[in-house]
């Protein structure tokens, strides 16, 4: 009799499992549809970025002075539509506007020490940053106009500015897309694997496989292989759409894509391990989602998927810094945008932490996984 080929048996499981995944609506939705939707939404939000200061001009304010004219042509200042004084005050107290401006023309009467104009600026404690920006802009305008008026006055220092263009402009999509790849791997790895293995076990599909000569490990490997292939196809589609439609930065082109796919695989393997744990621990199908969420929800929120972890308060930072997805997202962004290789110390550290996580997860998975 011909020698039994475990590998061939494993591949036939992979093929069947792959077909099963592609026909499962939830797999396609979580791996592909959700990440793409997030990318599209955040991608379009990102296009309109910029700092604006909303300013209301009080009725009766002098608008013929050079300062007002300079403010009008400044792209940062956004004069809001004329409102009544009461409406303006209400807006300021409610935090809907950043400042109220009132420029009064003074009756100088030949007094050289009284400024011709007084600029009254009212801000709120909610608009401190914007208020400061407005103050700076106004002071800048005044000092320029002073210097123009008084040409012979010596000055302590003069300011010369130049502006460089960055090699690569960091767009919102550059932040969002790696996060979404991580999210796709996370949900597919944990939820997908948990449901699949729970069902294979409870519907006795696994038991039927045991009656064939295939070894148990090859069954698991076959399933994992099919999920890996499916997710890699999904990741390639996500990267492709991100690059083609939103200008996602791929510094080294195909090499970068390959690096991102390798990182995706590392992440997916870790998350599949978590899925194995859930499939073994869950007592019935309805406990799978809450159990899986224990693994996915903290990472979804705290790993820098949608906004940087620096946005979180200090006491939350340590939690952010132990989650594996945090390091996956970080490595992905460095590889994609900065073109770092895997040997770069920061990326290397990310990968090592991911490997450490992998060891821990699979140690638990081997102990909790149930075959029947």
């Amino acid at each position: 009799m011909k020698k039994y080929n475990q590998f061939k048996a494993m591949l036939s499981i992979s093929k069947a499992s792959f077909r099963s995944i592609t026909r499962s609506p939830s797999a396609v939705v979580f791996s592909l549809a959700f990440p793409l939707i997030f990318i599209i939404v955040f991608g379009f939000i990102g296009k309109g970025g910029g700092v604006y200061v909303d300013v209301c001009v009080k009725p009766g304010s002098d608008t013929q002075n050079p300062i007002y004219k300079a403010l009008s042509s400044n792209s940062v200042i956004n004069f809001k539509k004329t409102e009544s004084e009461a409406e303006m005050d209400s807006d300021l107290y409610k935090g809907r506007t950043d400042a109220i401006l009132y420029i009064q023309k003074n009756n100088v009467n030949g007094n050289n020490f009284q400024p011709p104009f007084t600029i009254n600026l009212q801000t709120s404690n909610a608009s401190q940053e914007k208020g400061q920006i407005l103050e700076m802009i106004i002071n800048d305008i005044i000092s320029h106009m002073n210097a123009a008026m008084l040409t012979n006055v010596p000055t302590l220092a003069e300011l010369k500015t130049t502006q460089v263009t960055v090699h690569r402009e960091y767009k919102t999509i550059d932040f969002i897309l790696p996060g979404q790849l991580g999210f796709s791997m996370l949900s597919a790895g944990v939820f997908g694997t948990a449901f699949v293995f729970y069902n294979l076990r409870s519907t006795l599909v696994l038991k039927r496989f045991f009656a064939t000569p295939i070894r148990r490990e090859y069954i698991v490997l076959g399933e994992c292989l099919s999920r890996l292939v499916f997710q890699l196809i999904g990741a390639t589609i996500i990267i492709g759409i991100g690059w083609a439609v939103f200008g996602f930065t791929l510094v080294h082109g195909f090499v970068t894509i390959a690096q991102m796919l390798i990182l995706s695989v590392i992440g997916l393997i870790i998350f599949m391990g978590m899925g194995f744990v859930v499939s073994g621990v869950a007592k019935n199908e309805s406990t799978i989602p809450p159990l899986a969420n224990i693994f996915t929800l903290p990472q979804f929120l705290l790993a820098g998927t949608f906004f940087p972890i620096s946005a979180f308060p200090l006491w939350l930072q340590p939690i952010c810094k132990i989650l594996p997805l945090t390091y996956l997202n970080d490595a992905m962004r460095k590889v994609a945008f900065e073109g770092s290789s895997f040997f770069n110390p920061v990326v290397g550290k990310d990968i090592l932490i991911l490997f450490a996580w992998g060891v821990v997860v699979y140690f638990v998975a081997v102990k909790t996984f149930k075959w029947e």
Binding site: K2, K8, S12, K15, T203, L204, V205, A211, P213
Partner: protein
């Protein structure tokens, strides 16, 4: 069936304990080549446990079980290559078609098969491109039996193959099982249906609470009982209601 045939399965003093519970209390029997051997008994008698031990799906506590001379303890992979197994209420990847599932099993057994011919054998050729989840109960059972034949096994184990099927489907499945036996395969089935054991099995072992309390051909068992002076309380009719139903509705494969 009067001449002695070679023994293909040998079970001696088989014991299976689940903790304190003794599911199988030391049973011994032999299965001859090319017969339909039945384990008959109520649920919980230990039939499925004994079957699963023979199928190498469960470890025994003690005793010897030899399948075609191979030990269930040491030669599991060799045994798996020569047996076909139909589990009670097992599933398959539900969204795959029957052809795709046959592909899967041909890979698992490392064999090349003529898929349409296999589906023909069980009357499912029209459902080749249907998904498994779209099949009726009877069709699912037929497909299960189909997968047991993929590796041209020497022995086929069927666990309660007609449970939940209507009379037509049961009769047709019996014919299929007889065909399998007539092709040279040995069949071991468990059942709790008396009529199935009587109609289908060449020999029957009656199992109760982990023990075999009788083992013989159905006719011999009945003869022995009658010889003790047993008399049926009601007069035996020449036909029963099931015959009426089958006569009225015909015996073809029925799409449920």
């Amino acid at each position: 069936m009067a001449f002695s045939k070679p023994i293909i399965i040998s079970v001696k003093d088989l014991v299976k304990n689940y903790g304190d519970f003794q599911a199988v209390k030391g049973v011994s029997f032999d299965v001859f080549e090319n017969e339909i051997f039945g384990l008959l008994g109520p649920n919980g008698a230990g039939k499925t446990t004994s079957l699963e031990i023979m199928e190498t799906l469960r470890k025994k506590t003690s005793g010897t079980v030899l399948i075609d001379g191979l030990s269930v303890d040491n030669d599991q992979n060799a045994i798996k290559k020569i047996i076909g197994v139909q589990l009670q209420a097992a599933g398959y990847y539900p969204s795959l078609t029957l052809l795709e599932l046959l592909n899967l099993f041909s890979g698992l057994y490392n064999v090349e098969i003529d898929k349409m011919a296999m589906l023909n054998k069980v009357g499912l050729q029209d459902k080749a491109k249907s998904k498994y989840k779209a099949l009726s109960g009877g069709q699912k059972q037929r497909f299960s039996i189909c997968t047991t034949l993929i590796n041209e096994p020497k022995i086929v184990f069927l666990d309660e193959p007609t449970t939940g099927l209507d009379p037509q489907a049961r009769r047709n499945l019996w014919d299929l099982i007889r065909d399998i036996r007539n092709n040279g395969t040995t069949v071991v089935i468990t059942t709790h249906y008396m009529d199935e054991a009587e109609n289908l099995c060449d020999r029957v072992a009656i199992v109760e609470s982990g023990n075999i309390i009788a083992l013989d051909t159905p006719d011999s068992l009945i003869d022995k009982l009658v010889a003790t002076g047993f008399e049926r309380k009601k007069e035996v009719k020449k036909a029963n209601l099931e015959d009426v139903f089958l006569n009225l509705t015909g015996q073809e494969w029925r799409d449920e």
